[in-house]
């Protein structure tokens, strides 16, 4: 088990390193630079700027310097947000994005699994069919369509919640973005749970448990649930990725000051360091999630634990 985990962990760092390297050179190959603004700068000033940020050095030197910085936890200064370092920008925005994302993830998991179980227990009855029809719609409606609609209904017409915007410490501003972000993965998780639950409930060991006369409650929670959750665990990493990309649009629609906007803006502005910082944060998160999924697999399904 420990060896399994260690080998997984050992793959994480090189992966992150490769991603870092590829993005570093990709964005440098891109035409344009961070100081190409609408009014062109005098050549001398531009040279000085390039020199100040080390952009006049050969690419390999810059790359080496950047790697050394990252190893020390320093992502460098932002090119566009002049008085901020990338670390500052990200650590200001991350709490907002993380709150949004983790709330959406937790809600999608808990509600999705519960709905999936209920639907499986009501298999082929109207409750099941209604839930699954709703799930197809939930998977389909993109969050950038859903959120404006929600804002229109609850913000403009009913006036229950703010249409957009953000205040520190205000929960009301989170409600609509979280709902819009939660629904697609929720729908997907409920479908996955239902399908695997149905399969598990048909298996011989559940029949044995029933034949022993165990109460249905114990069969469900103690025997059926854990194996039924294996596919759900597999969906966790893609779900996190989906929520991260979803939060790009959700943050921009709701005007939440998260880190999502930095990615698109950073790439468009050629804000090299900011983009790199975002790539590192997102990739590290995804890789960590992949690790967690592997651990969860091993916990949910002992057969995986004893392999390799």
């Amino acid at each position: 088990m420990i060896r399994y985990f260690a080998s997984r962990l050992a793959w994480g760092l090189p992966t992150l390193f490769v991603i870092l390297t590829v993005t570093f050179f990709l964005i440098r190959i891109a035409p344009g630079g961070p100081f190409d603004e609408e009014q062109t700068l005098p050549a001398q000033i531009k040279r000085n700027l390039d020199a100040a940020y080390g952009l006049d050095q050969p690419l390999w030197v810059q790359y080496g310097r950047y790697l050394r910085g990252v190893a020390h936890g320093d992502f460098g200064p932002s090119f566009k947000y002049k008085d901020f370092t990338v670390t500052e920008l990200i650590s200001q925005g991350l709490p907002v994005s993380a709150t949004l994302g983790s709330l959406a993830m937790a809600l999608a998991l808990i509600i999705g699994v519960l709905i999936g179980i209920l639907a499986a227990l009501r298999h082929q009855r109207w409750g099941d069919q209604a839930v699954m029809a709703a799930a197809v719609i939930g998977i389909t409606v993109p969050s950038f369509v859903l959120l404006p609609f929600l804002a229109l209904i609850f913000g403009v017409y009913l006036r229950w919640l703010p249409v957009a915007g953000w205040e520190p410490g205000s929960a009301r501003h989170y409600v609509l973005p979280v709902i819009a972000l939660t629904l697609p993965p929720l729908a997907f998780i409920s479908r996955l749970t239902r399908a695997s639950m149905l399969e598990v409930l048909r298996s011989p060991y559940i029949r044995t448990a029933r034949a022993k006369g165990l109460p249905e409650r114990i069969i469900l929670w103690r025997h059926a649930l854990r194996p039924a959750l294996v596919p759900v665990a597999g969906f966790l990493a893609p779900a996190v990725a989906a929520i991260m990309t979803g939060s790009l649009v959700v943050e921009s629609i709701s005007g939440l000051p998260g880190i999502g906007r930095y990615l698109v803006q950073g790439a468009l502005n050629r804000d090299y360091t900011l983009v790199m910082g975002m790539v590192v944060v997102y990739s590290a998160l995804l890789i960590a999630m992949g690790l967690l999924v592997d651990l969860l697999y091993a916990w949910l399904d002992p057969r995986i634990r004893f392999q390799t």
Binding site: A30, L248, I253
Partner: protein, 265 residues
């Protein structure tokens, strides 16, 4: 079946609709700026704040979405099938390295790649096709590899090898035709994903550029105007949802029909 018929109807509408309407997609009608939908004037779905006809723009946008969906899916199927079958057929170290590459690529959030590609080469619709297709092949390659691994054990492959067939011949003549079932199922499910992704990019302003419209750009414009002019959001939003819904239902139906276990994701 209803869903399939609806998709057909939608495709027909996107092809015929713009011809029926007297308005062009980039014609500015200053006498009807931000007009509400109705049949009194020729702007059946209303106009946007520049006076452009939304009926034509929405259908044109849907056509772009469909074209991107089909092309990008075709690219991802092509690349994915080739990669996956090579992986599965050769196995061993080749397989390990190639799968490791896939794992690294899927560790990178797709959005980065496409943003980079659009930024590097400049924005064009063709690039969009290629970029989305190029990142969509990962899952396809995984599925094909899995299928190939089991097919490779079959006797007819052994027979082909012993009769001296070359590796490319075995892959294209014996393996690829046998994995086509799951490939078709997954391809149908890829189309709505691709369309969704394209609208997402266009919504962020990275996809289709003005004066051309895609459903994503229309929704972005509509969301900005929704308090004053609901229809600008409502109509493209509803059309996109309907399109995705139908495609998903068809894909699901196809999967059930071919008796694939529900391992979506």
């Amino acid at each position: 079946m209803t869903a399939l018929a609806l998709i057909g109807a939608l495709i027909l509408l996107t092809l015929v609709g713009p011809l029926v309407s007297p308005n062009g997609f980039d014609h500015l009608d200053w006498s009807h700026v931000a007009a509400a939908p109705g049949f009194a004037q020729s702007h059946w779905f209303g106009t946007d704040r520049l006076g452009r006809d939304l009926f034509v723009r929405t259908l044109q946008g849907a056509r772009v979405s469909l074209a991107v969906g089909l092309t990008a899916t075709a690219i991802s199927v092509g690349v994915g099938v080739l990669y996956g079958s090579v992986c599965g057929y050769f196995g061993g170290r080749v397989d390990q390295i190639m799968m490791r590459i896939i794992e690294i690529l899927s560790g990178l959030p797709l959005i980065f790649f496409v943003i980079f590609l659009t930024v590097i080469v400049g924005r064009s619709v063709f690039l969009l096709f290629a970029a989305i297709g190029a990142v969509g092949w990962l899952t396809m390659a995984r599925i094909v590899r899995g299928q190939t691994l089991s097919i490779r054990q079959k006797e007819f492959i052994e027979a082909a090898i012993s009769s001296g067939a070359t590796a490319p011949r075995i892959i294209f003549k014996h393996i690829v035709p046998n994995v086509i079932g799951p490939v078709i199922v997954y391809a149908t499910l890829t189309i709505p994903q691709v369309i969704l992704f394209e609208s997402f990019l266009s919504f962020l302003g990275l996809g289709v550029q003005e004066p051309r419209a895609s459903l994503g750009t229309l929704i972005a414009e509509g969301a900005a105007e929704m308090q004053a002019a609901v229809w600008m959001l409502l109509i493209p939003g509803a059309l996109l949802t309907l399109l995705l819904l139908c495609l998903n239902i068809v894909g699901d139906g196809l999967r059930d029909a071919l008796d694939e276990p529900d391992r979506a994701g």
